[in-house]
């Protein structure tokens, strides 16, 4: 999504205000004039200034381009669904990987993404690739590199 600089500038000012508000209850340090809030607040002030600069820049260039340019995929449900699937896959992994385990979650995510992106005609090869990829990643990262990938419900048969 391409938006006019004035809109992103306003968003930046809102973010700066949010940072300032979130740091409000940070405790000061005993005997020191500054505490943990100093650096984030410095960034917030600079951000607000940069936001103002973006607004000025956007207002000056408002005739050059429309305020908001929607990307091409928004008109295509198939591409919008693919984007949603990618984001949901990450959320799904965060939510269930600890209980279901890496192997099952990863296999489910890869299968759904492959079927969605490659089409239903290739479902058997998609299932195969997903299975091989998940086992290979589990073997390489979980075993060789010692990454503590969760086993979840498969704990009894963990290798």
């Amino acid at each position: 999504v391409k938006v006019n600089d004035a809109i992103s500038g306003a968003g930046l000012i809102v973010l700066a205000g949010l940072v300032y508000w979130l740091t409000a209850d940070y405790p000061g340090m005993h005997g020191q004039p500054y505490g943990p809030a100093l650096f984030p607040r410095l960034i917030a002030v600079l951000m607000a200034l940069a936001g103002l600069g973006l607004i000025v820049q956007g207002v000056r260039r408002r005739s050059l381009a429309p305020l908001v340019v929607l990307p091409d995929w928004m008109g295509s449900p198939r591409h919008a669904a693919a984007l949603a699937a990618v984001i949901l896959a990450v959320v799904f992994y965060i939510m269930v990987s600890r209980t279901l385990g890496f192997v099952l979650t990863g296999f489910a995510i890869l299968t759904v993404l492959f079927v969605l992106l490659r089409g239903r005609a290739h479902i058997w090869s998609s299932l195969g690739i997903a299975a091989v990829a998940v086992v290979a990643i589990q073997q390489f990262f979980g075993d060789f590199l010692r990454v503590p990938l969760p086993w979840g419900v498969l704990q009894p048969i963990a290798w």
Binding site: L22, Y26, P27, P36, M47, A50, L83, V86, L145
Partner: protein, 249 residues
């Protein structure tokens, strides 16, 4: 000069050369996978080196690290996903060259510059380490502060076409870096009670999120036919030397 001759004698031992070859393959592999960095390659090699003599052990670690740093350019140039944080700065440019069929040149430039930089650094360290150590000891917080300022201003103004947006992205990066425990007071900043955020945002995780996930999203939302990439033969990556030497003449 005797020491240099002796050092070459130690290095050009068939066993050491074989260890270096294997370590180079290992480094190539670690560097080319996004998320596995040169530091991680070193960390994994250290336990293996306990069972080696000092010279092959050091050779293995140095070779694997140097190789991993270059190998980060491979996915950077070919997939627009940098393999190591060191390759992140120019992966967009390298990928643009690949799209024009110049992957060979992009990788050649990466390899040649990595070799020049590595050899130059090694020579400087070998010849002037005592002098450098003397300067390093005088480096205090003041010097570090100005060094950081220099780096940050460079980061902002390297975005040549719009410095203001460079400053904005610098500020967003700094804000993300403040997430986690404050190093001085130990107060958690912007963690929202999540314990995992207390250690801050890991550099590798940020890199994967910004480059790899962005590239995935760009690919799945690409409307229309996938663009044709001119596939030139990837052969001699030193072919660019000819252009380089004619340009300087």
């Amino acid at each position: 000069m005797d020491a240099v001759g002796l050092a070459f004698g130690l290095i050009f031992d068939p066993y050491v050369l074989m260890v270096m070859l294997l370590a180079a393959c290992f480094g190539l592999f670690m560097g080319a996978i996004p998320g596995l960095s040169a530091t991680m390659a070193t960390a994994l090699l250290v336990p293996v080196t306990f069972f080696m003599d000092p010279v092959p052990a050091l050779a293995a670690i140095v070779t694997a690290t140097a190789m991993a740093i270059f190998a980060g350019d491979l996915p950077g140039a070919l997939l627009r996903i940098p393999g190591t944080p060191a390759s992140a700065a120019y992966s967009n440019e390298a990928h643009n060259m690949t799209r024009k069929g110049k992957a060979e040149l992009a990788l050649g430039v990466g390899l040649t510059s990595a070799v020049i930089g590595g050899v130059f650094g090694a020579i400087v360290l070998a010849t002037s380490a005592p002098v450098l150590a003397d300067i390093a000891l005088r480096f205090s917080s003041v010097e570090y502060f100005w060094l950081a300022c220099l780096g940050l201003t460079c980061a902002a103004f390297i975005a040549a076409n719009d410095p203001l947006k460079g400053v904005v992205s610098l500020l967003i990066g700094l804000l993300i870096a403040t997430i986690g425990l404050d190093p001085v007071s130990g107060h958690p900043r912007f963690t929202f009670g999540v314990v995992d955020l207390m250690g801050g945002i890991n550099f590798i995780a940020a890199m994967i999120g910004m480059f790899a996930v962005a590239e995935v999203i760009r690919t799945v939302t690409a409307v229309g036919r996938p663009e044709e990439i001119l596939q030139e033969r990837i052969g001699n990556i030193f072919k660019g030397w000819a252009a380089c030497s004619t340009a300087t003449r």
